[in-house]
């Protein structure tokens, strides 16, 4: 559906800051610089959330102009699409929590009435599906990212969850 096409505003890119105005700009090897920045942005995005802004700022060249846009810039890397984040779980506080990777509705089973993917006491292995989060009519699998025993299920079936909300508590098990 339309939201999975590349939104034009993201193609225009860099519009996270609302107030660029085009009146004068000397031509100074613009695309080399841009290429460098884009490259940096891509690498940094691959790395942890924040740092890009501060890092590129330190460049102190035309690139300074672009640092604020890093987050958006990344989205303009050719091929980037606006899709819900993949459902790889993230770790929120205490290494033993499986947390929601997107806003949505939490389901414990593949379909109403079907058996839940996991119940308390079950042992899970990395990559094993443990739940579903429905966001915008998409069913996104929630998978364990490590082995463990499900000691607590923190959200009721059919409940709304927000990003980063704890879903399961696991206990470490002997590999």
């Amino acid at each position: 559906m339309s939201s999975y096409r590349v939104p034009r505003a993201l193609q225009n890119g860099f519009d996270e800051h609302p107030d660029h105005e085009v009146i004068e700009l000397r031509h100074n090897g613009l695309d080399e610089v841009l290429a460098a920045v884009r490259q940096t942005a891509v690498e940094l995005l691959a790395a942890a959330p924040q740092s890009p802004s501060t890092l590129t700022v330190r460049a102190g060249t035309v690139a300074v102009e672009m640092t604020w846009e890093t987050a958006a810039a990344a989205t303009t890397v050719p091929g980037a699409v606006l899709a819900p984040p993949v459902a790889a779980t993230i770790d929120a506080g205490g290494g033993n929590i499986l947390a929601a990777s997107t806003v949505g509705v939490f389901y414990r089973s593949a379909s109403p009435g079907a058996a839940p993917f996991v119940k308390e006491g079950d042992h899970v292995v990395p990559g094993q599906q443990v739940a579903i989060i429905e966001a915008m009519k998409l069913m996104l699998p929630v998978e364990a990212d490590r082995p463990g025993e499900v000691v607590e299920i923190l959200v009721a079936d059919g409940e709304s969850v927000e990003f980063g909300q704890p879903l399961f508590r696991l206990a470490a098990v002997e590999a």
């Binding site: 890119g13 105005e21 995005l45 924040q50 740092s51 802004s53 604020w68 303009t76 819900p84 806003v103």
Partner: protein
């Protein structure tokens, strides 16, 4: 009127929208990244939903998460603020498809006006003055060079899909043209996945003047006067004011009329801004339309008494404009200064960090819009705009004096924190600005002068 509105933005504009909603009796939903968990709007909102991690792509640009948050909270409309998804036609489309009112123009209008060549074509058809240049995208370098010759140098080559000072080249001499042309096409292709470019006359000395408009869904459109945004650093506005000092009232009135004509011609809805540049002979030329509320909207509010955010919401809710063009009677002068968390002595590098002290100025005829508070941690992940200070006075000299008083009062302190407040004061006391003899080159001149002075 809506019962609940979701605010799909952050920072001061999210707080601004929340205040308008509260005054209208509308419940508010703030969506936020993990980084903004403790932000002002999250604290103030009736409900909040965490939609993703710090990077905007996964949070404030994450349409799916925002739509889902709206569904969860029963929001009936989405206010996109500025930046982020505010001018994304696909987001506007998804909102409507999901039964949400997008508080802004229809997707197709955003799409047309977002494409520079399409916008130029539409506005030229509506009779707005354009800089001499190509309407249709250029096809080959020979044709482009020929056109450039006809236009007369210097010319500027711009990416059709570009914006924000990216994907453009100024060409002073015909001999440079073809190289610049190829380079710009390449840049545009890599940057925007769209190599189309066009060429137009380049003005070395110009002022940036924009017209605020409001259109309802019943064919009523008005303008609310102009804003002069010529004080810029690398295309970033630092100071905005209304009225545009030194411009004849007839000129700005004419700009207002053509803006309204252009808006009606494109079926515009809500609040928008028509950007023009004005040359030294007071000729004005259409540049582009901003399909969103703008950072500098408060100066227009200060002189007209019209609450633009409230009008946006009312129009989106299907209400008719209650204002006629005659009701718009600007009074006095308003100036806005943007206080950014940046270090002017280090090339305006952002200085994120914790605000240990934060005391905005107050008193008569002064307004401060900010999401800052004592103890707030300014994240590195987003824009460096921390506060907007707006001063009103009967005349420009008093407005400047008031603004300088206010900037002097503003207390912002924290480890590593620097702001542009002092630099803004430097701009306000510059003779060129005081006499309104400045153009968009003012900030560059000041920075050069100060650099040589030291």
């Amino acid at each position: 009127m809506f019962g609940t509105v979701l605010i799909a933005n952050r920072g001061e504009i999210a707080v601004r929208v929340l205040r308008a909603c509260r005054e209208l009796g509308i419940r508010t939903v703030a969506v936020h990244s993990t980084e903004d968990r403790d932000s002002a709007v999250v604290r103030m909102a009736d409900r909040s939903v965490q939609i993703g991690p710090a990077p905007a792509r996964q949070s404030y640009l994450n349409a799916a998460a925002i739509i889902e948050a709206a569904r969860q909270t029963g929001a009936e409309a989405v206010h996109p603020g500025y930046g982020f998804l505010s001018e994304n036609p696909d987001f506007a489309e998804v909102c409507e498809a999901s039964g949400l009112t997008f508080i802004g123009p229809p997707a197709e209008v955003i799409a047309t006006l977002g494409d520079k060549t399409a916008a130029r074509a539409a506005m030229s058809a509506a009779g707005l003055p354009l800089l001499p240049g190509s309407i249709e995208p250029l096809v080959d370098v020979e044709g482009a060079a020929r056109l450039a010759g006809e236009i007369g140098y210097p010319v500027i080559i711009k990416a059709a899909a570009g914006g924000g000072g990216r994907g453009m080249s100024i060409v002073e001499d015909p001999s440079e043209f073809s190289r610049a042309y190829q380079q710009t096409r390449g840049t545009a292709q890599t940057l925007f996945g769209d190599g189309r470019v066009y060429v137009e006359r380049y003005l070395a000395s110009a002022r940036h003047v924009e017209i605020q408009i409001l259109c309802d869904g019943y064919g009523n459109a008005i303008h609310l006067g102009e804003r002069d945004c010529s004080v810029q650093r690398r295309h970033q506005k630092l100071v905005e004011e209304t009225p545009a000092p030194g411009l004849p009232a007839e000129l700005t009135a004419r700009m207002g009329e053509v803006a309204v004509r252009g808006a009606l011609a494109t079926g515009y809805l809500g609040a928008g801004t028509f950007e023009f540049i004005v040359d030294t002979e007071n000729n004005f030329y259409f540049m582009e339309v901003n399909c969103r509320i703008q950072v500098e909207h408060p100066v227009t509010e200060a002189v007209t008494g019209v609450d633009l955010i409230t009008e946006q919401i009312r129009i989106a809710a299907g209400e008719r404009l209650t204002l006629t063009q005659d009701d718009v009677r600007p009074r006095g002068v308003a100036i806005e200064c943007r206080v950014n968390v940046e270090d002017p002595t280090r090339n305006f590098a952002p200085t994120p960090g914790v605000l240990e002290q934060f005391v905005p100025p107050g008193g008569p005829f002064l307004r401060v819009d900010t999401h800052g508070y004592a103890g707030y941690r300014v994240p590195a992940a987003y824009d460096s705009l921390l506060a907007k200070v707006i001063a009103w006075a009967p005349d420009r000299a008093q407005a400047i004096a008031r603004m300088r008083r206010a900037l002097g009062e503003f207390t912002i302190e924290g480890p590593g924190i620097r702001t542009t407040a002092q630099f803004l004061d430097r701009v306000l006391r510059d003779p060129l600005f005081a006499e309104a003899k400045h153009d968009t080159s003012l900030v560059a001149r000041i920075l050069e002068a100060d650099a040589q002075a030291t």
